[in-house]
């Protein structure tokens, strides 16, 4: 396990250096995306109005306040990634995204995309939005306000983390490992239950 303090945009080489279990802290720009944002990009085929190359995407829909024509973050947290699983490949291949920050993990198919294109999944602590909000310095830009709160957001972050590399570009998948072990233990438990019955 090693620790990395990275600044965006990220290069393929930087991302390929990351291994499951590593800890990452992030400075720079993070793009907020969610179900409706991704449906617009991929199902409605509207190219994102921001350059996402080397970018980091966070699965979020924040609480914001509009003051003096600008949005201020009130609560920026992280949502369950799996709902947006089928968009991972497109984000990496078509738009050059290098990292996805989320919670709960993505599928084996997304893992293959991380391997193929050089990408990584960074797990943040779900529900810990108060802390996450203190690491957001500003909302720098917002596109597609009609999707509020599921717009495309550009956040300036400092010290975002701790983020844990949970899926890497070498086939490492912490969620799958933990779940496989849980299933093995579950089978043992169920066998014991049936013997007792």
């Amino acid at each position: 396990m090693s620790k990395h303090h990275l600044t965006t945009p990220l290069t393929e080489a930087q991302v390929r250096e990351l291994r499951v279990g590593d800890m990452v802290t992030l400075d720079g720009v993070v793009f907020g995306i969610r179900d409706a944002t991704l449906i617009r990009i991929f199902d409605e085929e509207q190219a994102p109005p921001a350059d996402l190359r080397g970018g980091v995407c966070l699965h979020t829909a924040p609480n914001v306040k509009k003051a003096g024509g600008r949005y201020e973050p009130l609560s920026v947290g992280t949502t369950t990634s799996m709902r947006m699983d089928r968009f991972t490949g497109g984000l990496l291949e078509r738009y050059g995204v290098r990292a996805v920050i989320g919670k709960g993990g993505l599928s084996g198919e997304s893992l293959k995309q991380f391997e193929r294109h050089g990408g990584v999944y960074l797990a943040i602590t779900g529900g810990a939005a108060a802390l996450e909000t203190t690491q957001i310095e500003a909302i720098e830009a917002v596109w597609w306000e009609d999707l509020m709160p599921e717009c495309l957001w550009q956040f300036r972050v400092r010290g975002l983390g701790p983020l844990m590399v949970a899926m890497d570009s070498h086939g490492g998948n912490l969620y799958a490992d933990v779940k496989a072990e849980a299933r093995r233990r579950l089978e043992e438990i169920l066998t014991r239950l049936e013997k007792r019955a």
Binding site: K65, S75, T79, T80, G104, A123, G127, A128, A129, A130
Partner: protein, 293 residues
């Protein structure tokens, strides 16, 4: 007769929504702290540490614990000896949700199920969800609030088992639900289980179970023993906080039951995220409001 004023109910409904999002119940905080002490897995300890720090940051800086403003769910419990205008009270609660959303402001997390348009008020058709109950307590109305987060709500399950599946079938289903949910409901979770009744009653009971303070066993000793057994088993699965491994997968298992049909064996499972959000208030006719959990 002493009258409950809708205006006061609106104010209280608004305040409860914001409180539930910012301050965790003491039983949830204590359960998290105990889990952090017991946990042996270093990564899990780190995650539990982030959760505890987050709770503190939210309280000291007045921030939301989680960004999910949830689906607003209320329980209105009406005691004896009160005069009230029922429909006006229901409208008053919805007004409180709208006011909290617009004035705080809060993210509107509620949309139409087909066209997905968001009214931007956290209200809509049948939302807020309000459950009305008449209770023995006299002289006040109790209003309880849960901003039910979607990460855990999406991990709700119902199975109409058969009598032949028995208790082992129930245990198997609960454990499979927890493993399948993995890290998605933001573990360590509060596992709510509803046994018996009809399909809708089973799910309602599972929800009742997660309104109980964490670690309050069912008064029926046989049910309490099942709760303890399932908690130990679930925490032996190794899923851990956020599904990234560890000893702490659930903070509690809580069960409610109803009698059921001779052909049926319904089991409902709902998972509540580690935030365990809820708030409550007693509203008196003289205008007093006492807040709690």
């Amino acid at each position: 007769m002493a009258t409950i004023e809708p205006k006061l109910v609106t104010q209280t409904a608004k305040e409860l929504y914001i409180r539930a999002l910012k301050v965790l119940p003491p039983d949830v905080k204590a359960a998290l702290a105990r889990a952090a002490e017991r946990e042996r897995h270093p990564r899990a300890r780190e995650i539990l540490g982030v959760m505890l720090k987050n709770v503190e940051v939210a309280e000291t800086r007045g921030l939301l614990v989680c960004q999910d403003t949830g689906t607003p769910v209320y329980k209105l419990r009406i005691g004896r000896g009160l005069a009230y205008d029922g429909p006006a009270l229901l409208a008053a609660i919805a007004d409180g949700v709208k006011q909290a959303t617009i004035e705080h402001p809060l993210r509107s997390s509620v949309c139409h199920p087909i066209d997905r348009t968001n009214p931007q008020t956290n209200t809509g058709q049948r939302i807020p969800m309000i459950d009305v109950e008449f209770v023995e307590a006299s002289g006040y109305v109790e209003l309880k609030m849960m901003p039910k987060g979607s990460g855990s709500e999406n991990m709700s399950f119902l199975k109409m088992l058969t009598p032949a599946d028995g208790l082992n079938g129930i245990k198997r289903f609960v454990l499979e639900c927890v493993v399948n949910a993995g890290g998605m409901p933001c573990p360590p979770t509060l596992v709510g289980i509803g046994l018996g009744g009809t399909s809708d009653l089973a799910m309602k009971l599972a929800k009742e179970a997660i309104w109980r303070p964490v670690g309050s066993p069912n008064p029926d000793p046989a049910i309490a023993a099942l709760e303890a057994e399932l908690l130990e088993t679930i925490n032996g699965l190794g899923l851990g906080p956020m599904g990234l491994g560890g000893d702490t997968t659930a903070l509690a298992v809580q069960i409610e039951y109803a009698h059921t049909h001779i052909t049926q064996n319904p089991v409902a499972v709902t998972l509540q995220c580690w935030r365990g959000e809820r708030a409550a208030a007693r509203i008196y006719p003289d205008g007093r409001v006492e807040y709690g959990f």
